[in-house]
Amino acid sequence: MGSRRDARRGGVIWEVFRQERPGAAFQHGGSLEAPDRAFAEAYAREFYGRRNESVALWVVPREAILEVDEPYVADVFDRDYRRVDGYSLKTKLKEARERARTTAR
């Protein structure tokens, strides 16, 4: 996703987020090009609201979105005890069930 505006064209790229049901999380619907907020609103309604597929829309200029390039925060120290991945409950659970069954008999 680039934040640069194409100098040859007058339009701004807008990202549209749509809500399918009241209370549901907004999902990215797609993007559109429009010269200003009024046009962005009209086109968003046309593209993402016309068929009753959305109960609400958020329209955001792409430039307003802060893009984080490397969301992964590197582990520079050995602190893998903090990590919860790789700690499989599956085997432990199976053993516990086995034990419970034996005790019950």
């Binding site: 339009g11 559109l32 090009e33 429009a34 010269p35 009024a38 009209a42 086109y43 046309e46 593209f47």
Partner: protein, 217 residues
Amino acid sequence: MSAHAPPLAETLLAIADDELVLGWRDSEWTGIAPLLEEDVALSSIAQGEVGHARALYELVARERETTADELAFERRPEEYVSSPLVEFRLVPDWARTIARRYLYETADAIRIETLKGSDDADVAGLAAKIEREEAYHRLHAEMWAERLRDEPRFAAALEELWPYVLGLVEPGDRGELAHRIGREPQYAVERGAHDDGWPALWDEMTSVRRSIPGATW
């Protein structure tokens, strides 16, 4: 509505013809509008107008014991009562297209408001349904009119089309239309005479229906 208002079915037929022909003309922009987004938006508005025409023709058809399709596609060209305003072929002139849309939608709002007050419950109900969609057509037209306001070509187009749009509404409503547009009321071009481009448009619009007369589609 003026004291000498025409019978309801005649009024409905005139509005239906306007909507059908304008929908047709605006659909000529499909694939060639200045922006892809606008292409989709205008095409969908054009389709909306054809849908309104269909619903209005159905009300007229009930009274005249015919069908909406026959009214739309099986009359002789001289039997249509559309205004020359909607018959003008305006592609590829975007300024004139927007001027027409803006003037037309403003006049149409006045006509639909009158129909909403009709004693006929079907007519009033349909007018209320149409109005809900026309509100978006009007937003679109006003947004573009605002954007093109300072363009000399747009101002010239408004000047040129103004007498034609006055003819869309009853004489008693012309002052209100002038007020909403912000222009002086002046002589109106009444519906009756068609634009020179009308026969060719009619020919194409009805060509499929006429290609196999009497067919069940």
